[in-house]
Symmetry: C2
Subunit: 220 residues, 2 copies
């Protein structure tokens, strides 16, 4: 491929293909099923994902388990040792490439990430429903509901019908930057880029309950 003996070039032969690092990020975050992986890289075609998984398997980074139905994909030891590298890339990207284009904003991806990372154990007993209204995207993709019940998190893009405990009024852009912790909840609230409509205790508690993305925690 590169025609070099340097281990960096050998590593990049495996890792520098388009999407590969993002698939590995998904696996490092715990996804093992084909369709779970797809949710993490929705713009990647399924055939390409399939191809990448095979390439990674041949390279000894991924192991496929169970053929046919209920196939799952797991990182080998070699794959797991990419964890610190992916983390370092995330920290570097946070630090040096903080600007997001409109193309980088995707509510499905954002709430999919929130859903899997959210520390449900911090939430109040019983059921809590939070409605999000994002002003900078079409209504069709701008209304989301977060339902947290007994340590379980659900996200809907339709009204689940529960009584809403809090409404978050903001933009997709602001919510994304807050989630990444490019700006804090406090600052976004102060600037008026984000409003929480709820009883005082919920309004106070919500930022802490939602928190920040897993990757944001790395940088701190």
């Amino acid at each position: 491929m590169y025609g070099q003996f340097c281990p960096v070039s050998k590593a990049m032969e495996v890792l520098d293909e388009r999407w590969t690092m993002l698939v590995l990020r998904e696996m490092l975050l715990g996804s093992t099923r084909f369709n779970d992986l797809r949710r993490g890289v929705p713009r990647m075609s399924p055939s390409l994902l399939s191809k990448r998984l095979r390439t990674l398997e041949r390279a000894g980074v991924v192991r496929r388990e169970g053929s046919g139905v209920r196939t799952s994909y797991h990182l080998t030891e070699a794959g797991k040792e990419l964890g610190p590298i992916v983390d370092a890339l995330a920290v570097w990207g946070m630090r040096w490439l903080p600007d997001l284009g409109d193309e980088d904003l995707d509510p499905h991806l954002l709430f999919w990430d929130i859903r899997r990372t959210l520390p449900a154990e911090n939430w109040p007993q019983g059921r809590t429903t939070v409605a999000f209204e994002l002003a900078d995207v079409p209504v069709k993709v701008g209304r989301w509901w977060l339902v947290v019940t007994r340590g379980e998190v659900d996200v809907c893009d339709y009204d689940p019908g529960f009584e809403v405990d809090a409404r978050v009024l903001t933009t997709l852009r602001t919510l994304t930057h807050v989630w990444r912790s490019d700006i804090s909840w406090e600052k976004a609230l102060l600037k008026g880029d984000l409003t929480i409509e709820a009883p005082r205790d919920v309004r106070r508690g919500l930022p802490g309950w939602i928190g920040y993305s897993a990757i944001a925690e790395l940088a701190s």
Copy 2:
């Protein structure tokens, strides 16, 4: 590009293009001039190198200094902070992808790397000339001379005419693996994959004088 807010994807938009990581490796090893960079990535076309340098400049990773003649390229702070990531990729590649195809072996690249890394200060006073004969490649690219004089290292692919202090008989493959420290000098000598013809003291000293590649040292 990827349409994701995740900093890993933002980082990879810059870093996952073909050759980019290898150019950064060269810069991290100290190259600043266009043609020095080329020597480190000889299979990369100059127009592509030019393009990559501009992309990296736009991304804030590289800074161009002096236009026209005597241009040089330098890593910005962001670029320097990629150092640990490139190192980690090298360590990972050494550990998990130790196999080299014939395509990965390149005597020009090997001796260019030896030349710049070799710890000349360990060598004897005066001039030392070492001749290499690589049996597994055409004679035309299989004979090399290493001349170390007062802390200066020269490599020739033609006989410089000096008296030869040592002859190293081996293959390109073995010498590459030794340089990478996939196998030690001792083991290669023991297996007979590499022979040093020289007076006893030189024969004993040479492995230590040449040593191993900079990247090999990372893994230890």
